[in-house]
Every structure is written in C-alpha cells, then in structure tokens.
Symmetry: C2
Subunit: 361 residues, 2 copies
C-alpha cells in the first residue's frame, strides 16, 4: 500500500487546524491528542482517519460542541457524569480526571458516564491513571455489532476494556475489544477479498460464516448477523466468556450511569455512548516501590519463559504499542492514501497550508 | 455413567463429619459449604469430589489448620491479608467479609490475599457481595497450567475471574477461567478417548495439539506444553486477550499482595495461592432500585434478542447454575461413582454412618 510518512507534530497541528476551522474550538486539541496517540501506536483504525467521521457526527448532531459534561451524582469516591453529547475524548478526559482526583485524595475514584460519544483508544484513559501510579480501568459500550452466545442479533458493542498497571517506567496495558475481532478487521479482509476464519462472525441466521462482505452488508442493511464475542461461536472455545465480559462492560458503563446500552446507542439522533473509568491508588496496598517490584517479577517471569517453536518473543501487553510509538516518533507516522486524501480535502476546504510531507507522499 | 442422587443436606452433613474426623475442626463447615455450592450448581469439578485432595494437601502441609488469616496492611477501603496457609475457603470468606464490611462503612472494599490455598468456585465469593447489593469481584491465581501467547511453558494458572452484579432477586454472575478450558475438561476427553479441538492446548514445542493425554502427560512429567488462554493459539482469535486477562489476575492477586505468582505456587512445600476480592457498594452510583432496573433493562434486552438457528435460549451468566441449583435442591445431587467411592472409603475409615442414598446408589 502506498503510504506517506508524516512528522507527528506536523500532523497534529494540521489536524487541530482542520477541527478549529470546523468550529470544534477548544475541543480540537483534546480530540486530536487522543487520535494521534493511536496513530503513534500504529492503530490507524482509531487515529486521525476518524476526523471526517467526527465532523459528520457533529453535523448530524450526535457530537455536540456547545456543551460540557455535568456531574449528576457524586460521593467522595465516585461520580455519575452526563456527557451531554460532547465529544467522547473531552468527556472522557474530564471523567478520568475526576476519578484520578478522587483517587489522589481518597485512594479510589470510580466514574460512570452516560450520553457521550466515541472516545478513541481505551488505553489512553486507563494510562492517565497509570501515569499517576494508580491502576487505571477504562471501558465503553459502542455501536451494536456483536451477537450474544446463541443469538443472531448484534445487540452488543465491541465493548472494549482496558486495564493499565504501572510497570517499570511505563505500564502494562491490556486494551481489548471483548469481541473476537473488530469491524475494521472485517473491512480489511473485504478489501483484500480474503475469506475470514470461522469463529469470527455469523450470518443472518446466526450461523458461522467466512464472508466478511456478507457480515458488513448485513450491518448496512440492519439485518441480523454480526461479530462473535471473544471465544467465538457457542461455548466450545469460551464464546460465552467473551459474551459475559461484553455484558459486564454494558452493566458497568450503561448500567451504572443509567444510560443507553449498546443496542440503544445511535438512535433518535443521539449517540448516547456510555463509559466507565476507575482509578485505584496503589497506596491502598502498601509501599509503591515494593508493589512495582512485585509487578515486575511477574511480568518478567512470564515474558522470559520458553518460547513456542518459531516464535521470536513473548510480549507483555502494551509493549508492541510502545515499540511502535518509539518508531513513529523518530521516523514519522504512516498514513494510508485514503486518510491522506481525506485530510488534504479538508485542508483544501478551509485553505489551510498543506504540510510538505503530504505533497511528497 | 452410573450416578447416585443424594440429598444436599445429607451430603453436607456426611462431608462435614468426614472433615471433622480428619481434624479440620471449625474449618470443616466452611469448606463443605463452598464445595457443596458447586455440586448444587452441577459443577462437580469444584465440588465434594475435592475432599480427598484437600485431606492430602493437609497431610502434605500445603493446607494448614492451626492458623488464621492475618491483616498485614489496611486502610479504610483496603486490606492485604496473609492467609498463613489456611484452607482457601476459610481465608477467602474472611477476606471477602473484610471487603464487604469496608464497603458497607465506606462504600468500597478491596482486599488482596497471599499465601492461601484452592478456594473452590470463584462465584461463591463474588456473590457474597452481590447478596449485599454490591458489585462483587473475585479472582485467584492457581497451579500453572496455561501458556502465554507465543510461549510453550505453562507459567500461568487457569486464573478464574468472577464479577457478580445484583439482578432481579439474585445476580448476574460471570465466573470464568481466563483459559479456553480447564484441566478437568481435558481429563474428560482423555477418559472418553476423544480428540480435543485445536485451539485448546499446545504440545511440548508450543504447537497446537489435539491429544488430551499428551497435554496431561506433559503436565505430569513437568515438560513444556499446556492449556491455551481464552482466544486460543496466537493472536488470530484473540488468544493475546485471554493471556492479558490471565496476567491481570496475576498482577491483581499475587502482584498487589506481593505473594507467589502462579509459576511459583505449590513449590517448597507451600501452596502460596493468591486471591483478590472487591466489594463495590451501589450507593456510589445512586439509588439502588433505579440501578437494579437499569441492569434489568440491559440483561432482559440481550436475552430476549433473536436466537440463532437451532438455539433454544440466550442465557445470562449465572442462569444455568441457578436452574441447576433449583433442580438439585429438589431432586438431589448427582455424584459420579468415583466420588461416591472416595466418600464411602473416608466414611468407612472414620466409622461414620453411611447415608442411605449411597447404599442404594
């Protein structure tokens, strides 16, 4: 694929200028920061490629810019926040900020959020807490794409879940969709005209399929069928476990905030996405350095265990993303031609100076 | 399989008498209560079938009976507890009791435990909190049987994780090993001389295998190989996610308690199993009845969605176990002949009167 390498700082400024020209005002910086973090980690599905979609969602009224999140209920250790339809990144940085402030003062901060929007990579928010030597928890429900075990209707979102735990100078960060794959992965297979493995998705009867385009077409036509939970079809490979994790994300995000569960998101002109953020201060369990050593012993023990035949390395979670980040910070971010074209179009629309890297691309 | 049906009360008394005769004293009731709860739910792998094993572990010094758990570190919201080698059920009921008491007083209770033993079904402890209108969290590390993604050495336990959330007059209870299957399932396939599906386990080179006996023999001979994390081999079906969940369980149980991680359990004559218990009071998020309604809306919405072709029902987590419990409470518990023989042998050893049900079996 023909790709352009762009300096992260240049890309950031260009995207912020676009969003500001689109009247995103003070939200522009926060949104681009979170999107750029995905591109730095080479997770393009959650990167600046989303810019146009966010602009469309602002136009359709799903993303509201003249609002700020409000705290609807609060204790020393918790809050329920109404995002009031604001951009997911802004609502979520605010909400995790509240959780962290509570965990600094009283060791625990648990914040449930309703009526928000897509927030980008989940790890961004869990790592906000890990940077403060806390265990960070973040999760969100999302547009319904996933079928429950023994079901055929996509009523659950891919419902990602992230847990970040301080490790070394950085963090162990698990960030996982509770589905076996994401819609983005199906789109890649469709583009390449490759069959998808059985265990990823089901057709409109709820039967395993290996056609990505069938699943995507069913989504578009709002017919039954969808992506399977982690563990796949039925119970033989633990599909009911992935389904359970997905339900936990629903109950903790939409349930605790009394917001819209995934099947009800993006209905009636409202996105209504719900999140949950937790910050757990390590002071709850003793002396910080001893706890960090304890984490290190475990992770080092696992990654230094014997490798399977033909495998180069056992990774811990967040390690690949960290390596990618180092690479992109020094070498630039790879953008696919579709994303470059979208950015050029938006830059052109607002007569913003096009970064040289794009012109050389 | 030839099975005996036994009245739960009769079985309970018989098992308590056996453990008392084996000098388990006051621990006997607590241990049997937790084991029986598994049999009531038709999870025989964690039921009274374990009695002999616990007696053996007491004999080998892994389970210590002359100790009580001690609180080694404490805040208003948290505790680190040393199980001092006591029976897992007793240590864990005590630890979850501490978590619940803290969550009653201050809305959150988080308790990390080191130096304990096998505790039975994880759901038992998460549901202790759910019964108090709290969200209950329980997890434990365990004897190493699971290989990390791209690894071939079983350094992780099956590391189960349970989350219980009040629902209706009962609870939604997810209770899942973070591995794709448990050792018990491999043993069933070995007994039936059936091949296991690819994606369950790897051989001593770390390559997928369909031989249960190969995997079990490798365990016995302490050779590499083992069970795969939820999501299976490699990353195509999300095996790295199951591996990540397993690591989270290690970091939260052994990491926070500075105890033994799975690879180090059952070494040097010490079991050293680590747990974590959390109790989250729903008062943190508003009015109880509104929150319970919110949970109900979500769960009811999911289970009433369209069923896949050929499927009778979409379950929520804990529902099958609840149905089984109703059945066994009225019809009796099914025990397999091996378990009946073990109990008869122990009853005979201590000249305890044998329940009639066993004699008719």
């Amino acid at each position: 694929m023909n790709k352009s390498k762009v300096d992260p700082g240049v890309l950031r400024n260009f995207c912020v200028e676009i969003l500001k020209a689109e009247q995103f005002c003070s939200a522009a910086d926060e949104i681009v920061d979170v999107l750029l973090e995905a591109d730095l980690r080479e997770i393009p599905s959650h990167g600046v490629a989303r810019l146009k979609r966010y602009i469309d969602e602002r136009n359709s009224g799903h993303i509201k810019l003249n609002t700020t999140p409000t705290v609807e209920f609060e204790t020393a250790l918790s809050a329920v926040i109404d995002g009031n339809g604001g951009p997911g990144q802004c609502v979520s940085r605010f909400a995790m900020g509240v959780a962290i402030a509570k965990a600094k003062a009283d060791l625990v901060g648990l914040v449930s959020v309703r009526n928000s929007n897509h927030y980008g990579i989940t790890a961004y928010f869990s790592e906000m807490a890990a940077k403060e030597n806390m265990i960070g928890v973040a999760m969100t429900n999302s547009y319904p794409l996933v079928v429950p075990t023994f079901g055929k209707e996509a009523v659950l979102g891919t419902n990602p879940l992230s847990i970040a735990i301080p490790y070394g100078s950085d963090s162990f960060t698990l960030d996982m969709a509770t589905s076996v794959v994401t819609r983005g992965k199906l789109e890649v297979y469709e583009r390449l005209e490759e069959v998808i493995p059985r265990g990823w998705a089901v057709d409109e009867l709820g039967i395993d399929t290996n056609s990505a385009s069938e699943v995507l077409e069913n989504f578009n036509k709002r017919r039954p069928g969808g992506i399977l939970p982690l563990g796949g079809s039925g119970e033989d490979f633990g599909g009911h476990k992935g389904y359970g994790l997905s339900l936990v994300v629903e109950l903790i995000s939409a349930g605790l905030s009394i917001g819209a569960w995934s099947a009800k998101t993006y209905t009636g002109g409202v996105a209504g996405v719900c999140h949950f953020f937790g910050a757990i201060n390590l002071e709850l369990f003793g002396e910080l350095e001893s706890l960090k050593e304890s984490f290190q012993t475990i992770i080092d023990g696992v990654v230094s265990s014997k490798r399977a035949e033909g495998r180069e390395k056992i990774y811990y979670h967040g390690e690949k993303e960290r390596e990618a980040r180092k690479r992109t910070l020094s070498e630039g971010i790879n953008l696919d031609p579709k994303t470059v074209n979208m950015l050029l179009m938006l830059g052109d629309k607002h007569r913003i100076e096009i970064p040289e890297a794009f012109l050389q691309g």
